[in-house]
Symmetry: C2
Subunit: 404 residues, 2 copies
């Protein structure tokens, strides 16, 4: 008789955003007259940039003719896209990343979920708390996190690195030695960042204890401050200890278009075994690449026009971030994030729990946010709003919140 993966049965509740989706849909169906403003899930609302649309149309036309049709993509992704990435995201910042160290994928969520495949089950992970739930959930599914303890809302075999007001929402080096360290900067959900000098400490630490840093830089395009690094490879020695995951979802609005990439430097090794070759094998065996037309769209993001147009999109969202930050502060909330990130992290008022505030905001202001507790136990008492709505909706949401 076959058996299921029992690790799945240990997972508490369902995936955070599925739960929110269901709650909001239920409320919406019972309140058809209410205009709900969604600042919850980190989904973009602005259309794809004109230059991206143009590239898509052109690539679609190519797919319609035998001479220019494209079948299976090369294992690592098309070279035209990897070249653009290497040049603009790495060489331009002084990072030496080679073409065959970049793996094109269908997005950062898939990559950050799948990357665990190439590591042994006995590795111990360290995560920021709160953090994007995919890191912990996918490790739990693999059986790497021990047991889930309802009382503490923590897994028994995970090193949690609290990111609270006391630590300025940044993690501190853990006292227990981890094997895999998940870092996400600019952070989801807190919107916090650390400076290059601070990140260098993590790289030095990883090199010292023999850990791999899985660095999720999906929000790097939102960085506005000079001293905040866009890539972990800006730090010395990072190529020997860090994997970097990137996305087109937030820098170019590709949430529904699906494109991302992962960088694994060839010098990142364990006892002579290169992680780059393991990931190449994993992707070559379990994945068949992102669509040709989408890879062409990704290439267009790096064109001169593309960089200009996507910069405008980001400025649009960051104007929303400013509206949210200022609106919340004027309404008396304690707020962080929103400067180098599209996320605003607020303390819930009157000692409400995160989910109490979620219901309160949904029912009283018809505004959807994300309960901080959904990102980890230290997120309890906090709440995330995103800057990805339309400007008009963001303004209206703030007016409603101010009126509460």
């Amino acid at each position: 008789m076959f058996k299921v993966n029992e690790n799945y049965l240990k997972l508490p509740g369902s995936y955070l955003f599925s739960t929110i989706g269901k709650k909001v849909n239920a409320y919406a169906q019972e309140n058809l007259d209410k205009k709900i403003i969604r600042l919850g899930i980190g989904d973009v609302t602005q259309p794809l940039a004109p230059v991206v649309i143009e590239a898509l149309h052109k690539a679609v036309d190519e797919m319609g003719h035998a001479e220019t049709f494209h079948g299976y993509a090369p294992d690592l992704g098309y070279e035209f896209l990897r070249k653009a990435i290497v040049e603009h995201d790495y060489q331009a910042r002084g990072c030496k990343i080679a073409l065959d160290e970049v793996f094109i994928s269908d997005g950062a969520k898939s990559d950050s979920g799948n990357i665990g495949d190439i590591f042994a089950l006995e590795n111990k992970i360290a995560v920021c708390d709160p953090v994007y739930p995919v890191y912990v959930d996918t490790n739990a599914m693999a059986g790497r996190t021990g047991e889930y303890l309802e009382e503490t809302q923590k897994w028994s075999n995970v090193i949690y690195m609290p990111c609270t007001a006391e630590t300025n929402f940044a993690p501190e080096l853990p006292s227990e030695e981890p094997d895999l360290i998940y870092l996400c900067f600019p952070n989801n959900p807190t919107g916090s960042t650390i400076t290059k000098k601070e990140l260098q400490k993590w790289v030095d630490y990883a090199l010292k204890v023999g850990a791999v840093i899985i660095y999720d830089a999906a929000y790097e395009a939102y960085i506005t401050e000079e001293e905040v690094p866009h890539s972990i490879y800006e730090c010395e020695g990072a190529a020997a200890c860090a994997i970097e995951i990137r996305s087109f979802s937030k820098n170019a609005g590709f949430t529904g278009t699906r494109l991302g990439f992962t960088v694994i430097p060839k010098e990142l090794k364990c006892k002579g075994v290169s992680l780059n070759s393991l990931w190449a094998r994993r992707q070559g065996t379990k994945f068949n690449g992102a669509p040709y037309i989408v890879q062409r769209a990704g290439e267009a993001v790096y064109s001169e026009e593309g960089r200009k147009q996507t910069k405008e999109q980001i400025a649009y969202y960051m104007r929303n971030a400013k509206v949210i930050c200022e609106g919340l502060v004027s309404a008396g909330y304690t707020v962080s994030g929103g400067v180098n990130a599209p996320y605003i992290w607020l303390k819930t008022p009157k000692g409400m729990s995160s989910w109490e505030f979620f219901d309160y905001l949904l029912e009283q202001a018809n505004v959807v946010g994300t309960p901080g507790a959904g990102f980890g136990p230290s997120g309890e008492g906090y709440f995330r709003l995103t800057a990805f709505g339309s400007y008009e909706n963001t303004l209206e949401a703030m007016e409603r919140i101010k009126r509460l």
Copy 2:
């Protein structure tokens, strides 16, 4: 110190088609004057159907305007696509499959590789031999297959079901009881099929021993014979023991466009735990859906025009299959497949090994095929040619082979 997944180190060589790609590229670079005809990897060559191109353009335009822009897709995929699938692939054949039993993905390779995630590691798998390498390789990566034995070219903990000339290239019920049974019909690589009555025996067997059948029907569109089932759900009781994986790669030329789906009926359970809910959790946590524009393209495949146009594509490839079968027979080869499948399976001449014949064909005829041994030990002494080339190239390849 972190550790890698040592199961990866047990894998022999690299992924079959990566190896072939490297060999062919090396030969091509040293022989720039030679025109190589690729009938190796199962990649299509015909352009996307006009109605698909039209749907893609329309969806791209939608992505360019805020009012019609699409961000993250629903967890299971867009309902418009799932509806078309349920109606045309299942209801039309008398199979009761519900909308929430269909999961849209980026392709059958990902799904057949990832499906192992929801099963316990101690499940024992049974595979046809020879077979599409992804089933065994991904189970090996997970640690489910024991040790690889060079002498036999088999894994110690896998039940191999030989599909040879003696069994008419179909598997027989195994003597040892498996937990997971991978079946692929029409078969890749042999091109063989079994009748509905024969498939019913597998369903009955799985129900009896408590096994799950993972049924890969990626090539169902190539079926020409009446008694061959297109879906395993045409068999009685299959909804309680079978997962079906489908692809748009071969029925509509989506190898470079990326779209597929997996069906998991809700009644498929292990001790009350529904595999449907586990897969929903897996996909919700580790995947973010296929691109909106690609899901619209998939929808177009099911339109009246779409069905007509893709049928023409399939007829085009099946004409190639006929050319290959007849050409090989007239050249004295022993051949099977090619009737309900785009694959032709031939016995290598003069006792050559599969890889010897690969080199021979590449060097003497500049034709690329796939060595049967790459699909499993019982594939040794056989060779796969695909019907996915252009008609002109297929004719020329046959002329060259006849001249050898």
